[in-house]
């Protein structure tokens, strides 16, 4: 154990932990949205994320950018980021839609038991991930270093770089937009209604299938943005990274209270921090152990997570 390592680098561990935590949080939103409405853990969501991440890298590839390209100019960088974000969000939303149409809706129509959904979810996840594996010949795909990771300024001696600002800022912004969408818009009201009581909502004229599809699309778009931010941070992508990242994001969702949007954000950021602090104190090999240990201990005291399950109920 090395507490000295933790204290002397506390600031830097915090910023890098929040960065990866922000990506967890964005992916966690997808789990939480679907769970809030359908009481279903969409295990294929990790592949929805991967689809977006690959789409972003391939978009850059289509512009001739690879790991050795040097992009300069603020305008060009913003352009590449925005276009990749758009494509990634679309690709992820499309993947989520296909998963819903192929793996979930037919089962729902036949009133299948919840376990059947779990199995098709895992099946869809493996199928999509293997498809990417075969297409990429299981080799890593690399993207350009678009955003600099040189320190931009220091806060209390802690260097802050543009990637961290972009990732954390982007996640927060998406979070705020989503929160507004769910709480203010007409579709958002429908989502909350279906989450609360699907049958009554249907009686009140809410198109349940359309709302469920919207949930997958919105959750997918969030995962697509997460995929883009992941590419910006890591710059290399392998078909298989979705599994563990999805598991972490799911953990984050449960940590914050699955079904609760703000809980997903809190859970994601917290998980990123716990992982980094544990890496410093016990060594990086203990990172996952620490993350799941925290989850178990927390669930012992707060079985519904930090903020509780509340997509529909809190402010209906």
């Amino acid at each position: 154990m090395d507490f000295n390592e933790l204290f002397s680098n506390f600031g830097e561990l915090t910023t890098t932990g929040l960065t990866i935590g922000a990506i967890y949080a964005l992916v966690a939103l997808g789990y939480t949205l679907v769970y809030g409405v359908l009481r279903l853990i969409n295990f294929a969501h990790s592949e929805v994320f991967i689809a977006g991440a690959f789409a972003a890298i391939w978009t850059w590839g289509a512009f001739g950018l690879n790991q050795d390209s040097n992009v300069t100019g603020f305008g060009a960088i913003v352009f590449y980021l925005l276009i990749a974000m758009l494509v990634a969000a679309l690709a992820s939303a499309a993947t989520a839609t296909v998963v819903e149409r192929v793996a979930y809706r037919p089962l729902r129509k036949r009133n299948a038991p919840p376990l059947a959904f779990l199995i098709t979810a895992i099946g869809a996840s493996i199928a999509i991930s293997e498809a990417f594996g075969i297409y990429t010949r299981r080799l890593p795909e690399s993207g350009p270093r678009l955003v600099s990771q040189d320190p931009l300024f220091h806060v209390f001696g802690v260097p802050i770089n543009p990637v961290q600002l972009l990732t954390i800022g982007g996640a927060l912004l998406m979070m705020i937009l989503l929160d507004m969408f769910i709480n203010r818009s007409r579709v958002g009201r429908g989502i909350r209604a279906v989450a609360q009581d699907p049958n009554t909502a249907a009686l009140m004229g809410v198109n349940k299938d359309r709302i469920i599809l919207m949930v997958f699309v919105v959750g997918g778009a969030m995962a697509g943005v997460a995929g883009l931010l992941y590419d910006v941070r890591i710059q290399t992508l392998t078909y298989s990274v979705g599994f563990l990242l999805g598991l972490k994001a799911f953990t984050a969702a449960v940590l914050g209270g699955i079904g609760n949007l703000r809980g997903a954000l809190l859970g994601g950021l917290l998980l990123g921090l716990v992982e980094n602090y544990a890496s410093a104190v016990f060594g990086t090999n203990w990172k996952d152990f620490a993350a799941f240990a925290v989850l178990v201990v927390l669930l012992m005291f707060r079985p519904t997570g930090l903020l509780g399950e509340s997509l529909g109920r809190a402010r209906a």
Partner: protein, 386 residues
């Protein structure tokens, strides 16, 4: 329809067998020595797909070249190559080993390529008496398991690890070194050897997750930074090494990365990006494949269209040892095992002779340092023996 197809295929296979056997007996002539080893198979065991397939493909191509040459020279008595794709995974290794054992025509194996899968597969081979020569699994303890069928045509990490340590100490003259490993049989073993040589110069160490499980190394990067190390040693494979190098560079860490043969592959440069990879030192208990003796490099390029990569030459030699056995009429597994045990001969990468435990004769072991320069892995220097 399907049945019909199966019957047709079966018929074709049968005919091929008959004509093959006929060709053999007519061509061999000498029934006691050459005749019955015709139609023998050798297998390559290693990752051909998956995240760590690059080295496996290098090796399989080397083996392919050897078999190709042999079949051209012995057109009347061909040998078949069976590629067994382990994806580098110890979990898949036992069943794959069993598959090889069940095919009685397989008289010898080149592989398993990696140390982890070797630990899973080698006990089965030993029990079955099926000889195997690994061209790249360098974990030292593989030779100490009393496996009767284990041979290694390269040096092990006991030669590579200390040599990497000496290079860091004597050539780079680094006084503070940070050592990272991926907790794999290979990576941790290598890192331990390096630590032993460096002693007090080890400024810190960390263990990360290999096999593509970890992609964010920010905590490790922070630790390297705060340790003030001027060199970083990584024990593991190229995928994580590339990410670590990229993230170190992005965080402004200029320390030289030194890594073992598991990283010695162009895929590392892809993963890290050319700018970050520049200057990385990669060791290998092998001489540069492009400097192999004879026409190996040219032949390889002619067949595969690419330059030979790490371990292409040693795998070529390993295959040739087995092929020499087949040529000498060793058609059974016990005969082949005895043949390899007593083998002495010259290959393109080294001269071969094995110790009691199946290790390459220590006098023949060479460790080279390679350097990443201009986006390519180029030979740097042979690391002198201690």
């Amino acid at each position: 329809m399907r049945q019909k197809l199966a019957r047709v295929l079966g018929g074709v296979a049968l005919m091929a067998l008959v004509t093959g056997a006929a060709a053999c007996s007519s061509g061999g002539g000498d029934d006691t020595a050459g005749g019955d080893s015709c139609g023998s198979k050798i297998a390559f065991f290693g990752a051909l797909t998956g995240s760590s397939a690059a080295l496996g493909i290098n090796e399989n191509n080397g083996v392919k070249l050897a078999v190709d040459k042999y079949n051209k020279e012995n057109a009347d008595c061909k040998v078949e190559l069976v590629p067994l794709d382990s994806q580098g995974s110890p979990d898949q290794a036992p069943q794959l080993a069993q598959k090889a054992i069940d095919d009685e025509k397989i008289v010898g194996i080149v592989g398993p390529a990696y140390s982890g899968e070797s630990e899973a597969a080698n006990p089965l081979f030993s029990e079955a008496g099926l000889v195997h020569l690994t061209a790249s699994a360098t974990r030292p303890s593989l030779a100490d398991q009393n496996w009767k069928t284990f041979f290694r045509v390269v040096g092990n990490d006991l030669s590579q690890g200390p040599a990497a340590g000496r290079y860091i100490k004597d050539v780079l003259k680094a006084e503070k070194v940070f050592v990272i490993d991926d907790q794999s049989a290979y990576g941790a073993g290598l890192a331990d050897e390096v630590k032993k040589v460096l002693g007090a110069a080890v400024a810190g160490n960390d263990k990360v997750q290999g096999e593509g499980k970890q992609t964010d190394f920010s905590a490790t990067v922070t630790r390297v930074k705060s340790s003030g190390a001027t060199a970083v040693f990584y024990g593991g494979y190229y995928q994580e090494a590339g990410l670590i190098r990229k993230q170190l560079t992005a965080a402004g860490v200029k320390a030289v990365l030194v890594a073992g043969d598991g990283v010695n592959d162009p895929a590392y440069i892809n993963s890290a990006g050319q700018a970050a990879a520049e200057g990385t030192i990669l060791t290998c208990p092998c001489a540069p494949a492009t400097e192999a003796r004879g026409t190996f490099a040219a032949d390889y390029k002619a067949l595969h269209g690419t330059d030979p990569g790490t371990y292409s030459d040693t795998a070529f030699d390993a295959a040739n040892i087995l092929l020499a056995g087949i040529k000498a009429g060793k058609a059974t597994r016990p005969a082949m095992l005895e043949f390899v045990k007593g083998y002495t001969g010259e290959g393109v990468a080294a001269n071969y002779k094995f110790t009691e435990t199946g290790e390459l004769d220590p006098a023949e072991v060479k460790v080279w340092a390679f350097k990443v320069q201009g986006g390519k892995v180029v030979p740097d220097q042979e690391i002198p023996k201690a």
